[in-house]
Symmetry: D2
Subunit: 273 residues, 4 copies
């Protein structure tokens, strides 16, 4: 619906809703603005919501060379600078939460409230190996192997059982998609852009009203990582969606939306008991 | 601000807010409408919120004889019947959640969304003994002993450390209050009204959109009880406020409000991924 | 079966078993050597086990004036000094674990392995209030009120349901016992002896092989306290008995014994993978 | 050290220790008798321990065609039948625990005590996809991709950080090993042998003294699976090794050994409180 350019690359974004606190939504690594389609009626009920595809995602331009997170932080900074709001609330999930953390450290004066879902303050040694594995499989070019290596691990055992038909359809859609060399190349770059991410020390600079959303069955960014966030971000609020895996917005959309919108729409004055 | 009569007894209630989904808030056993004072700006921002004192609570009339939960379910039924809304959302915490469960089974057609915080579907053998202990101490008439027996257990260790000055002020207020025979008599009746509560079998009749809020440090109605609720109420959503004890609205008001208001303000259509 | 004197007071202890690693067992506050009767066949199968009543417990002498933990640490030091072993393993539960921590800091050269069950490194502000409540009720002299205030909270909801007949028998035994002024006076002193306990800083001096046993349903010394221990005692091992409350040795004797004996009987050389 | 034949295939096993309760140890899928080398001094201190390589593992014979779990249950049955003990205790981890469950249902009269570490009663839809992914990568023949896909997920984030040097050495050893076609073919068959495993209904037939060992950071067979086991096996004991991933024997050998040996060496008579 709209676009801007960052370092010569086209960035796609969408704005939905007429009034209310503006809320920027940042995608996980394999997501795009399209992933949020069914959330828009709720997101835009009492809020202006801004969706955006990072570079190498969705309808934004593909990159050709490797980069790190600072590229996407720049994308986000440019987006928020062009929006007509003094401050916005920002919700990032996983990769999006990592970019949100780095933006919040850099430009805290532009953020009203920060929501970090399934997010870590660093790429741990362990997660780096997981990402290396994804990329080693991507390099074989075999879409099915890539699907099986990257997608099931994102969901919980319980979701797989409850939503078997949906997962099967998803498999049918994603295997051909993951068989495209251009797609795999984008995913390799996106994954590699997280390799050296480490804000363990700097995340503590954040003093914004912050909500941390963890999921009990998140096997990719497990609760231990969100506990690290909570211990470092002073005054942060820390909730868990029980039974959900890493893709919390799909596993329990109602709890996810309730938390994101409920926290965004709190008044600025803290509730003093 | 308003009152009605139930079985000849005066019931006090308040309405705040101009528009939006109506939300009825049901107190925990030792709470009253006054407990929610600092929450009203948030509660009434996008919603009409109805607060009510159960009989033997706050500004509602004292009882003289013993009763069980059905009395308070009747109070709630009468309240909702006189409100000009086809449906309301209901949030009950602890004792209030127990009344909400029984009302939801009885009058599901009047509820839009149900939120159960720190709530169980029964008074377990264990909790009955805890309540018997409270009442045994109440019968000594010693306010300080009653305070020490009933209040600290409601909060988490971490809250006690973070909010020591607040807890000390509360102790200063509550010990004289708990030294009044009329107050102790009301509390004895309220506690006893839960003795035979057991909706273990019937809670499964609920098919409303339901959010269950559990707290990791709730030593009075521990997460095992909320897991029971979640397993029995089909399709219920189940989140945990980490680090909070039983009095979740005081320990983490922002997370509490975000969940309650966020869930209340979701659209009726489920989000279909 | 044996006794010694500490500061003029008689201390009762028992030794069971013929051979194997010696293991000293330290009681929780309301326990005594008699509490371990049914554990002796397992404890003494491959080990020499030493049971002891702290002063004001079981068959040891009653005190007349108030004291703090250092008294019981002295009892333990005297006991271990008179035993014919260069080193012993020490298992303390709750109050006993607190004494064990202080002894381990003072005399690490005498301990082979340390096991801390349901133990904290300090009396938190919260737990101090709980203890104050116990003592306020004790001072009423009403055995039933004291029983209801102190005993149910020690057990999990699940145990109460599984072992209702046992709990009822225990209530029948303990209410008359807790109605004796001398018993209540001992319990008041024992409880007060923990008021100022704070080894938060010093517990980190322990570098012994240490096993921390936590219980998921421990409402008195909740897992957050054992996490503190684990973070402070470098290299400590940290396990949870699921479903058990504070009285882990009664709620799940098999898991408790397996952990205590299994850890005690490991060889000195660490297992190098 | 010893061998027998099952359906014409050679099975390798070892016996260590002189006396005490006999204990059969069953490997996880990528393990072998060699994996337990450093555990033998502790295992054999007070016990006779029997290690065995399943077919397609370690020094047992390779298979050439696909099979299911019943093959390995047959191996175990044959092994126990040839041992000179009326009963043995059995500890199985992951794949080994699955075989143990099926054997325990089939031949309960031969088992004294059962220990299930990091084990499920079924291959969930989710886990089947994970296994399919492993095999899809194995079929590429790329040892590094297979290593990165299968090994990191077995360990916790914390272990990776604490034991980085060990993980690096392991990577150096395993990548060449996983580059051998014969090894990958065995691993493919072993993984496929679990595809249709489902003892969800039958596991409840087990009434042996059973200890379930779960690990808080097990991302492969998460605690939800062990909760299923615990709910189905009446009277089972359920403990958690905190901070450990799926490979619990490597992540916390002391806690692992303490639990396995401590539970094995309990007397037959239950501890009656």
């Amino acid at each position: 619906m709209a676009e801007f350019f960052y370092e010569g690359k086209r960035v796609y974004y969408e704005i939905h809703g007429d009034s209310g606190e503006p809320l920027v939504i940042l995608n996980g690594i394999m997501m795009s603005t399209a992933s949020w389609k069914s959330f828009i009626p709720n997101f835009s009920r009492n809020n202006i919501v801004i969706l955006v595809d990072f570079l190498d995602q969705g309808q934004s331009e593909r990159m050709t060379e490797s980069y790190d997170h600072s590229l996407q932080v720049g994308v986000l900074e440019t987006l928020i600078d062009l929006l007509p709001y003094e401050k916005v609330s920002v919700m990032g999930i996983s990769y999006g939460g990592e970019i949100a953390i780095q933006y919040a450290v850099k430009r805290p004066e532009r953020i009203r409230r920060l929501i970090l879902a399934n997010t870590a303050c660093r790429t741990s040694d362990w997660l780096r190996k997981i990402g290396d594995g994804w990329n080693a499989v991507a390099k074989t070019g075999i879409g099915e192997a890539y699907y099986l290596t990257t997608i099931p691990v994102i969901y919980s055992t319980g979701f797989y059982e409850r939503e078997k038909a949906w997962m099967d359809r998803r498999e049918g859609t994603l295997i051909p998609y993951f068989s495209r060399p251009d797609v795999l190349e984008s995913l390799i770059r996106l994954t590699d852009s997280s390799r050296d991410y480490d804000y363990t020390d700097r995340v503590g600079e954040i003093s914004l009203p912050t909500l941390i959303i963890s999921c009990s069955e998140d096997g990719l960014v497990p609760p231990t990582e969100q506990i690290m966030l909570h211990e470092r971000i002073k005054g942060s609020h820390y909730v868990t969606i029980n039974g959900s895996g890493h893709a919390s917005m799909y596993e329990d959309p109602a709890s996810f939306c309730a938390l994101v919108l409920g926290f965004t729409n709190l008044l600025d004055d803290p509730i003093t008991i």
